[in-house]
Each structure stands twice: as C-alpha cells, then as structure tokens.
Assembly symmetry: C2
Homo-oligomer: 433 residues x 2
C-alpha cells in the first residue's frame, strides 16, 4: 500500500487557489469522489477540489491517472472504483494529491487540458455517486435511542435490553436513496391517533429528518463468511452525510412487530461527495466508553470512530432570513463505529456488497442543541423549535428545506462533506383507488 | 394485449411427451421462465416444458421468437424480460404455447434446431433467475402471525393491533437470496436465554424454515407515485416458492425495536422457475373475508389471491427413508394478496423496481398439519415433529434438507413450481476475532 502521509500534510497547498481557504470543504487534504455531468455530457467520475470538479475521465484519457484502469471513471456510478479495492483507492489518492499540489506543473501548466478537466462545481450537475446495492440503517447513538425510545415506549423502556450488546439496525429501501438537492413529496400513509378505533389514510403530519453519517462499502464479503471489525474497517471506501427522512406518525402505527417500513421509504438523501476513509484517517477516535464489555466479534483493536462536526439547518419557504442552524453535534457520540456495524451485519454469514450503504442512525449529543431529529428537539412535537426568522416548527412543513453539513477540523483546513439537502413538496394527488 | 385463452386450454397437449403426464409440473399450460446453463455455456433464458428446458436464446437466434427483442434472452438474468412489460410477456407466452403445441411442426420437425434448443433439465444448471433488486418480506398469513405472535409476545398480544389494517412487512436482504440447491452454513449470532444476564455468541440452535410464495415485480413505479391494487397486480411478472430460513434464537434477542435483521440474512432460497401470473390466471381466488373493512387504497376489485397447493418436506442426512412431508397448506390462506402488499409498499411514494422480490410471509393454514414453520409445528420447540424415518425434530439439524413444492390443480394437468430446496451445513469456523 502506498504511504499516504503527505496527502494529509496540513502544509500542503494546491495550485487551485479556492482549495486553500480555511473554510473550504474541499482542500487538497480531502479529495472526495463523486459523479457529475456538465450540460450535454454523460455522468462521469470527478473529484472535488476547492470550488472546482476535476474530471477523472478526461484526466485518465490524457494519461495522467495511470494508477488505475481508465474504465473506472466513465460512470454512471463509482461502483467499479469501489470494487477495485484499497490499493487502487490509495494509489489514486496519492496521484491526485501530487497532481494538484502547488508545485506540480503537469496539469497546472497544461492550459488546454486543465481548462477542460477542471470545471466549476457551480455549473456541474451532481448525481447519486453510487448504485446503492442495499441500504441498511443502524441506531448507534445512545442519546437518540434513549430519547426516541422514551417517546415511543416510555422512559422506563427507553433503551431496549439488547441495545448495549448489539449494533441494532434494520434493512432500509435502496431504491429511494436520492442525491442532495432532490426534492420529494410528503408521504401518504396510514395514521392512527392513540384513542382512535381504526386508522385513517392521508398525508403524514409528523414529518421529520434524521442527521446521520453513511458508510459506503467498497469491497464485499462472501456468503457464509463473517468478517472481523478490522477487516470491516478496511472494506469501507468512504462516508457521506445522510438524512433518513421519517414519517413519525406512520412509523408509530406500523413499526410493531417488524420495524419501520413505509415511514422511512419515501426518500433518504445523501451528499454527493464521498469523503474517503483515507482522507478521514487523521480524525480517527475511539468510541465512547462501554457500559458492558462487548462480545469478542465486536471488539476493536484500533479507534474506528471519527471526530466530525455536524450541523442541521432549516429554511422555511420564502423566509426572509434564510436558514437557521437547529442542531450542532458530532459523530464521536456514536456508541458503535461503522466497522462494528459492518462486522455485525456480516456475522450471520450475510454477504456484503460493493455499493452497500450503512446509515449510522441519528446522531444526537447529550445536550438539547445537539439532537439529530425534530422529534427529539420538540419532545415528541410538544415543544416547538424557534427559527431565526421568527417561525416555529414541531415537524417539517411543505416548502421547508433541511440541510446537513459536516467537517473535520484540521490545522488550517477543513476536511468537509459539503451539503446534504432536500425540500419538502406537498403530498402527491391520490389516484382513484 | 393478446388473448391468452388458448394457452390455458386444458385440452392443449405438447409434442414434448413428458409435458403431458398428469403429475408433471411443467405442462404446456405453465411455461415458466428461468436462467440455465449447460456445461461450458454462459447462463441464458429458458422455459421449462416437461423434463426439458427450451433455450430461448437459441430459439430467438433461429427467428422463432419474433414477439420480443432477441437481447432479452442472453442472460445473465431475466430482468430485461421483466422490464419489457406485460404486452411482451403475453406475446412471448402465446408464441411459446403455439410453438410447443402438439400439432405445430415448426420446431417439432426441425430436428437440428430442436436437438440443440431443447435440452434435458437434469443436465442443466439452474441459476438465480433474476437480479434481486430488493427483497421485502411480508407477514400475510393470519394463522402464522397469530401463532408466532403468541410465542414471541404471549397469546393475549398475539396479533398486533395494526395487523388487520396493514399488510405488515419489512425490508429483507437482497444479497442473500439464493437459488434452490444452494446449501448454506448455519448462522452465527448473539443468543440470550431469557434468564441470562448477558448474551453469548455462537451457532444458532433454533434454525427454522418458512414456507412462502415470492412475487417478482416486473415493471416498476416512480418515486412519489402511489399505485392502486389493480396496477400493482399488473406490475407483477410471476411467482416463485420462497423459503425464508430463520434463526429463531437470534431473532428473539435482536428483533426489538427495529425488526428481524441477522436472523433472516444468511440465506433466502427461491425456486428456479418463475411461474408467470398469466399462467396462474385460471387459479385466481378472492382473499379470505375481512375482519374489518380495509382502507380504500387496499381494496381490490378483482380476486388477486391464488389457489396453490403447497408442501414442505424434510430429509435428514443419510436417512434411510428419504423425505417426510411435514406440512400441506395453500396460498389461499393469505389474508393479503401480493397486489395488496405491493400497493401498500408503494403508498408512501416508495419507488418499486424491476426485480424486486416480495415474500408473502409464512403460509400457515388453520390445522396442525398445515403450518409453514417448525416454530409453529413444535409450539416453540416444545413438541417435536416425528419424521417417517423415526427421527424427530424441533428445529433443523446440520445435514437436514428442506424442500418446498407447490402446484395448481388443473383439469388433467398441474401448473407447478418445481422444487425449492436447501441443505443445512455446519456453522462456519470463526475467525480470530
């Protein structure tokens, strides 16, 4: 494996000037991968650098990306790169970091190629970066599990007895994972007030978001072969922001005994840029202290969590003052790492695949301003959140735009995730049933 | 749409003699689709007729299947055929029925083509017929839900309050769906006795099967667009037998609050031949009488259930007397049809896709000999089942082979599903955690 140390060097600067500002999410230390297209072009692989996208397909065509097969970059998704494995990921990271480094003239001074390969991100359309083979959502924040458990089952049954032993998760719906910027309709479904005899049908009235991190599986595992947490860590290609939009009223009525279903299956939004685990390496930290020792298959020999600052902001339609930040939290609060979740996922012999997406579960911190979902902030809809524009919210209203962002704080730079946003459209017209 | 009446005619006979016996599952009235390969050949599309497989790729190459694009048959899965839609499905069915009809000489008398296109099923390898985009498992047998609910939650809480209003289901794991004949390892996982303080780790001790029917979605739906039960019926390409192997001890400990996860993610077996809904048309029947009226979006204007006789048999390794039939049931017991399940699945706006697989849930009848899982037959493992060889079983042991079969009883013929089987291998060696 190539040594990646110089790709993390905080003193490294790029000849792409916009990459060198302190607040930029995409400095030369980051180099996240995505799929983009320009007007009239087919979707292809790119890397974000400053306010630009570097077209890897064009770069490979010019012979400047010899670390990998040129076919990896032609799109429509990054799954071929994911399947290529860690040695290729690292080789490409190193090549790109060196190519974009301030003193390297190979692309910097090749004006024609540079103009065609380095395009403004603002003019690019960003696509779903992977074909999501399967989507699994976990439940790894102890604060969130306790807060929501108390609302759904009462304070005394808040944290289920298995929670401190198992990284609890469920299979979600891969076909409804969409890229940031994809607006979606408020879902229809069955609703039942606690005192009602029978359910009614209509638009969800308690529409919520969930602030999560998504881990993307690069290399898979075989049916019938468990993997260790160490192997699992290495199987993960990278991470995205993830919003698991949730219909709380549909969820309350449907979730027993087989778990959430249609309440979580109308949209799950991910950010377009996959921040590689190689880029996150300097920000590894240990999981919180264990309440009970974990079973051996879940124990970790290395710190596999990350120190990522996360925020959620809400902007009502046409509001005069834009977005209000309604949560500031950190992925360090996760009780289970993505590596532990993946090891648990495979422990029965479940085959894991290139393109599997694992949501961390809502990330809530211990304080009122660090909660990752409205249902927690508003204590089940009873205490409204006040926005800067003067409006209040218990749950999301039509036209609301919810955005997540997140970054690791480096010395003089940020390794950032960009934005993960979506706007709520009204419920669809009902067909003639 | 072509008129399919003559494809159902009980008097129609084939020039493939083995298709004309009363017990054959694959008479000319059936014509199920699958993916097969012969030694040294790539997997391709075929249709079962008697004890033969008709190679559709070869047939199309010879110009005898003009009803559809030749590219549909080249494999490695039937998803291109599924996506082609009902008009193509029917055109091909009609063409194949006429081609195989006793009096039609076009293939019957073309000796060279016939020899190469009509191969013995016993010599063919049968593959997973579709790329399973997503797998969803429902819970549609009232008897099963009541029996299992009583074991998991007590008799008084057996049927959850939502069950008579919602076709309850959960997202399963697509990557572990395997074709009949694929043996699998007993899963490892967390186990906890009710009286124990903490879980232990090891091989499942309560390994079970679940007798189900699987519906295969042909044409998909758009994100944000609910579908009616009538549309849902038409979206389904066909049906297979499905065994949702289950680790009951892992399930008991893990399933609260987000549903079954690793207890169902080590293997789900389906039969290799997809019986089309066009072939099942003569066997349509109404669902059981409703306890409560359903909400309008779930109501049906046509009978969308099917009258399919189903059996499960168990053969211990090296047993002297072969397999014992341990259950005889019928899909008519399902309280919700696959069309209702699919309409519910899409109601939130969930995008449904070509290749989605919907399990019916375990099909149990009202009598002790019509139960679809060992946990029900043995009342939670307390009353062993006696096999013909003299052995008894509470749950599955290593080496046990469990097979499902099923058919519709026509006049002088059976429209059958063949077999859906798997053998339990010992738990895998554990890695050095």
């Amino acid at each position: 494996m190539p040594d990646l140390d110089r790709t993390h060097d905080p003193d490294r600067r790029s000849w792409v000037a916009s990459a060198n500002t302190a607040a930029c999410h995409f400095p030369i230390q980051n180099l996240p991968f995505g799929i983009f297209s320009m007007d009239g072009q087919s979707p292809r692989a790119g890397v974000a650098i400053g306010d630009r996208v570097l077209d890897l397909s064009r770069l490979a065509g010019a012979g400047l990306l010899s670390a990998a097969d040129p076919a990896l970059w032609h799109g429509p998704d990054l799954n071929p790169l994911l399947a290529a494995g860690p040695a290729v990921w690292r080789g490409v990271r190193l090549a790109l970091s060196d190519l974009l480094e301030a003193g390297n003239p190979s692309l910097r001074d090749a004006a024609v190629l540079r103009e065609s390969a380095l395009v403004p991100m603002a003019a690019a359309r960003l696509h779903l970066p992977i074909f999501v083979r399967s989507f699994t959502d976990f439940y790894a924040s102890r604060e969130h599990a306790t807060n929501v458990g108390a609302l759904f089952r009462g304070r005394e049954n808040a944290l289920p007895p298995n929670w401190l032993h198992i990284p609890i998760g469920y299979n979600g719906r891969a076909s409804t994972v969409v890229v940031s910027g994809t607006d979606f309709h408020r879902p229809l479904g069955q609703l039942k007030a606690p005192e009602a005899d029978a359910p009614t049908f209509g638009p969800c009235r308690r529409l919520d978001f969930e602030l999560e991190l998504g881990a993307i599986v690069g290399t898979g595992s075989e049916l019938g072969r468990p993997v260790t947490t160490g192997e699992a860590y290495d199987m993960i290609f990278g991470y995205v922001l993830l919003n698991d939009w949730s219909a709380r009223d549909i969820q309350t009525w449907e979730y027993q005994p087989l778990g959430p279903f249609q309440s979580k299956a109308f949209a799950t939004t991910i950010s377009p840029w996959i921040v590689t685990r190689d880029a996150l390496e300097p920000y590894r930290i240990a999981c919180p202290e264990r309440v009970h020792p974990l079973l051996p298959y879940l124990q970790e020999r290395t710190p596999n969590n990350f120190d990522i600052h996360l925020e959620a902001s809400l902007a009502p339609a046409g509001g005069p003052r834009g977005a209000s930040v309604i949560s500031r939290t950190n992925s360090r609060h996760l009780y289970y790492s993505a590596a532990q979740q993946l090891a648990h996922h495979a422990v029965s012999g479940c085959r894991m695949c290139t393109g599997d997406l694992l949501g961390s579960g809502t990330i809530s911190g211990p304080t009122r301003d660090s909660l990752g979902a409205l249902v927690e902030m508003t204590r089940g809809g009873s205490v409204p959140v006040l926005l800067e524009c003067g409006a209040t919210r218990t749950f999301l209203e039509d036209g609301d735009r919810l955005a997540l962002t997140g970054w690791c704080e480096g010395r003089g730079h940020r390794v950032g995730f960009g934005e993960c946003s979506g706007t709520v459209l009204p419920a669809p017209c009902q067909p003639e049933w």
